[in-house]
Amino acid sequence: MRPAQDNQGSFLGRISIRRNQFVDVNNEQEQEDLELFQKHIADRFTELLSPPSQQPPSDETNTVASVAATDQIMSVTWLRKLMDVFLCCEAEFKAILLMGRDPTQISKPPFDRLVPEMLDRSIKALDICTAVVNGIDSVRHYQRLAEIAVAALEQRPLGDGNVRRAKRALANLVVALSLEDKENVSGGGGGGGGGNKTTERSWSFGRRSGGSSAASKGGATIGQLKSSSWSVGRNWSAAKQIHAMATNLTPPRGNEAAGLPQPMFIMSTVLVFVMWVLTAAVPCQERSGLANHLPVPPKHLNWAQSLIGIHEKIGDEWKKKEKKGSAGLMEEMTRMEKLGHSLIEFADGFHYPAEKDAAESATAQVAEMAEICRRMEEELVPLQQQIREVFHRIVRSRAEILEVLEQAGKLSAPVV
């Protein structure tokens, strides 16, 4: 009697194990979907790594060829493409995760662990979105400083007054662009110090003691940067956030690798990656060690190749910039900083009438700066809107997943 019962027990047990491993009738269809998903991810990121219509972006030495570089990695245009890619991946993923799926399935192991982890990551991503939207506001601020300089330097005839005006704006600009996050934050946090400020005089511009020291003299310039207000928590750190999102992110193994855990891993990797790129691109609260916080997916995974490629490029750039301090890696900002320095140099050596060569090269630089401003004017707000859309999408997906879990009855703890 007994042995028979035992047998039966283990037989039933085996069935349930098998079900957990997705060895079911729909398996083939599911496999197909998964492969397609991975292929799409790979395609999309490959396109981001090397846009088809252009030759692979050369490094930054060739900045003057600005117009051709619209699609360059980390340019505003590229970031907007990245947002589109994210939205596409997310939509596809959600279909795989939720469509036609038995709600009880995603509340069973290993999903009782994987799904909450994913939901937790999504909350963190929301705060990053908010921080990045704020960061883009700071970029708009740089844009306006650059516009002042452009407007002043476009004046003809170019006189001392124009040059001084441009120099002040440029000095503020380069300080802002090279500021460490920490300085930014402490500046912002000093908002409450409004009381102190009333007692002391506040000067926005340097004495004519001139030179490039104008930038460093801009004690009051930091005051200007108090503008960078962060809407995330006071001790919030973008780097820690990214780190926390990535800590429990490990590729599924064994049987799990063939099932739903795989796309969950892929989508989470994409999410963390995209958030990481955004925080590196624009000013963002507390980013020290950002480059180290992104776990690189194993190289042998096909879908991950291009993503890893992009990651390496940006990571290298970040490490370079982190040492000397940078507000962000957005391509336009990098160029703006370079142009800013070079125009300050021009302004410092300016004597009316300007030398022909210097004037010509300055004119070209001003034109490039104007072009950057124009592009920022056109694309920053749409980028913000896209990030907001990403935010909404994450919120919506999260709500849908919670609803499914609710149906599965797992979360409805004896409510009352």
């Binding site: 306006r144 516009e147 007054g161 409004g194 511009f205 503008s227 207000s229 809407s231 919030w236």
Partner: protein, 625 residues
């Protein structure tokens, strides 16, 4: 070169030279004195006027000349003047940032809001605190696990039915004198083409000022992740504070900031400046409700979510007035999105509540068949919902979806909605919740081993539901009479079932059948059968008395009615049985063994029933025949 033009401009040139001199005197890049002092805050109004006139003069001069060298020189002067004005602008603004006194604003608003806590109300066990003391007003949620039936209750503050009427109230963020100075400076900077600088400086200083106002208002920077980690009690407190702060923020701070921009600038710049200043703050302000709107749903969150929803609904018209440009649209959009997500959350919670009520799993029977904590909880909850009727009637638009159709739960009771045509969806949801409750209670009643007690349990609980509805006018309005009558029928039916289950057996022992010896018509009563009957009755009654004295019918009136109805059956039957057969027993031996109780004894004993005594009192016998 001596053209008429030039000659007539002779005096102009002289004035220009004077003006230039004034401006250069205040060039802080060249003069220590200029660096150390301020024009506008020196108190020397004449110097202020002189300086402004000088700037105007240079401006006028620029527009009248065309020779490139002169333009260049004049531009240089203007640049010096603008740099100076920019500094003056900044310093005036900075000197004005500390004039905001949020304490007085908060005080006002708390007074305003406390008056909106309507005072009429009594919820059992709850005391309403009318002075807006926020610590006292909390909803207390305890799981009705049957362990502590008395503590499962909801306390609350009754909401006002009338929405707050206060709206935009502008104050002077900057003194009127300073405003006029700022305006003079701004006008000149804009005229000279320095509007970007002007916006930058103005925006930066006001933005910092805004940040410190936020700090003073207690609006802390919290990320969505931070809010998710807080326990709900803390969140509730924060919601209450947020609502107050947000009202001040929108109606006073943002509105005043906008007015200040209007006073100093005109047109596009005014809008740019305003957005520059408030955009970040507004987004920060709304991060908190945003976090609430996407948090996990659970029943205890409903009311605070509705409070938040109502606060936003209140604020939106004012926000529409303040953020009326295309650039500020996104703030409105965000607030509207949050509002609709909160509405969605409220709807979701109500549906989930229905399911939760249906599924509430406790199986341990409540001792004595009294009110189940779940019943109390659900009814208090519904009562609270009815307080939010105004909001919810608009929010709840779809009818509940009972039965198999939507839930895939074959056990779930169906409800015939056609019977309740004409009810608002909110009413239907509340009734549906009560149907779920009723269904669950009936399930629970099956766990009583004693059948009559299960009827008492059902009777008590359904009666409680009916009384609860009747005692609240708001709830009464939502629960149609038809359903209430149905419930009344149900508890009456349970009472009848109880009586049948208990007393039919007892009363059977008082019947005439079987006492008469067959064949003998007149006085052929079997004494031994009679003795058995009396013994049986006594034992059964004693047993019933013993057990049912520990049962509980908490409602006095219901208890009384039940006893009366019980007496009406028992006493006459006993009296007549006693009257007819007492003689037969008394004429025999040991009549006291069989005639243990007088009618009065029973009448007294009935009073012990349903008192919920922990141990039954002894049935007293006074009769000594």
């Amino acid at each position: 070169m001596s053209t008429p033009e030039n000659r007539s401009g002779g005096s102009d040139v002289a004035t220009f030279k004077t003006a230039e001199k004034i401006i250069l005197r205040w060039d802080s890049a060249t003069s220590e004195e200029a660096k150390e002092n301020l024009i506008f805050q020196s108190g020397d109004r004449e110097e202020v006027d002189r300086y402004l006139r000088a700037v105007d003069e240079v401006q006028r001069h620029i527009s009248s000349i065309s020779i490139s060298d002169e333009v260049k020189a004049a531009n240089s002067t203007i640049q010096i003047a603008m740099a100076r004005l920019e500094d003056e602008l900044r310093n005036i603004l900075l000197s004005q940032t500390s004039t905001f006194e949020p304490d007085s604003l908060l005080l006002d608003s708390s007074l305003a809001s406390s008056s909106s806590f309507a005072s009429s109300l009594e919820e059992d066990n709850s005391v309403i605190d009318c002075d807006g003391n926020e610590e006292e007003q909390r909803i207390d949620l305890i799981l009705p696990d049957g362990s502590d039936s008395g503590s499962s209750r909801l306390t609350r503050s009754r909401r006002s039915s009338s929405k707050s009427t206060s709206s935009i109230r502008e104050i002077d963020l900057v003194s009127p004198e300073a405003v006029s100075d700022l305006r003079s400076i701004a006008q000149r900077m804009i005229e000279a083409g320095y509007s970007r600088e002007c916006v930058q400086v103005y925006g930066n200083v006001r933005k910092s000022a805004m940040e410190s106002i936020f700090k003073q208002l207690g609006i802390v920077r919290l990320g969505i992740g931070d809010v998710q980690r807080l326990d709900w009690e803390t969140v509730e407190l924060k919601i209450r504070r947020w609502i107050r702060a947000a009202k001040v923020c929108v109606r006073v701070v943002f509105a005043s900031e906008k007015r200040l921009c209007e006073e100093i600038f005109d047109g596009i710049i005014e809008e740019t400046c305003f957005m520059e200043i408030v955009k970040g703050s507004a987004l920060q302000l709304f991060t908190f409700p945003e976090a609430i709107s996407i948090s996990r749903r659970s029943p205890e969150k409903l009311f605070k979510i509705l409070d938040l929803h109502d606060a936003l609904t209140d604020l939106l018209p004012d926000m529409e007035e303040i953020f009326d440009s295309s650039s500020s649209e996104l703030i409105l959009v965000q607030a509207t999105e949050i509002q609709s997500r909160l509405a969605e959350a409220a709807r979701g919670i109500i549906t989930e509540f229905e399911n939760a009520v249906f599924r509430e799993p406790s199986v341990v029977p409540v001792p004595g068949g009294t009110i189940h904590p779940l019943t109390r909880y659900v009814m208090n909850y519904l009562n609270l919902i009815s307080d939010y009727k105004q909001t919810l009637v608009d929010l709840i638009m779809s009818k509940p979806c009972p039965g198999l159709k939507c839930t895939n739960d074959p056990n779930k009771p169906d409800m015939d909605l056609t019977e309740l045509e004409g009810c608002s969806p909110l009413s239907l949801h509340m009734i549906y919740t009560m149907v779920m409750l009723q269904f669950n209670l009936e399930e629970k009643s099956l766990h009583y081993k004693d059948e009559p007690l299960s009827h008492i349990f059902v009777m008590n609980n359904i009666h409680y539901i009916v009384e609860k509805v009747k005692s609240s006018p708001e709830l009464r309005e939502l629960i149609v009479d038809k359903y209430l009558r149905k419930l009344t029928g149900l508890f009456r039916q349970a009472a009848t079932k109880y009586q049948r289950a208990t007393w039919v057996r007892v009363l059977n022992s008082l019947r005439d059948e079987g006492l008469h010896v067959s064949g003998s018509f007149s006085s052929g009563v079997s004494r031994s059968a009679l003795r058995e009957r009396f013994k049986a009755f006594n034992t059964m009654f004693e047993e019933v008395h013993k057990v049912q004295s520990t049962w509980s019918v908490p409602d006095t009136q219901l208890r009384e009615e039940l006893r009366i109805s019980l007496s009406e059956h028992l006493i006459p039957a006993y009296r007549s049985f006693l009257g007819r057969y007492r003689g037969h027993i008394e004429s025999g031996r040991h009549p006291e063994n069989y005639l243990k109780y007088s009618v009065e004894d029973l009448e007294t004993a009935v009073l012990d029933f349903f008192e919920g005594y922990p141990t039954a009192p002894h049935l007293r016998r006074r009769s000594h025949q």
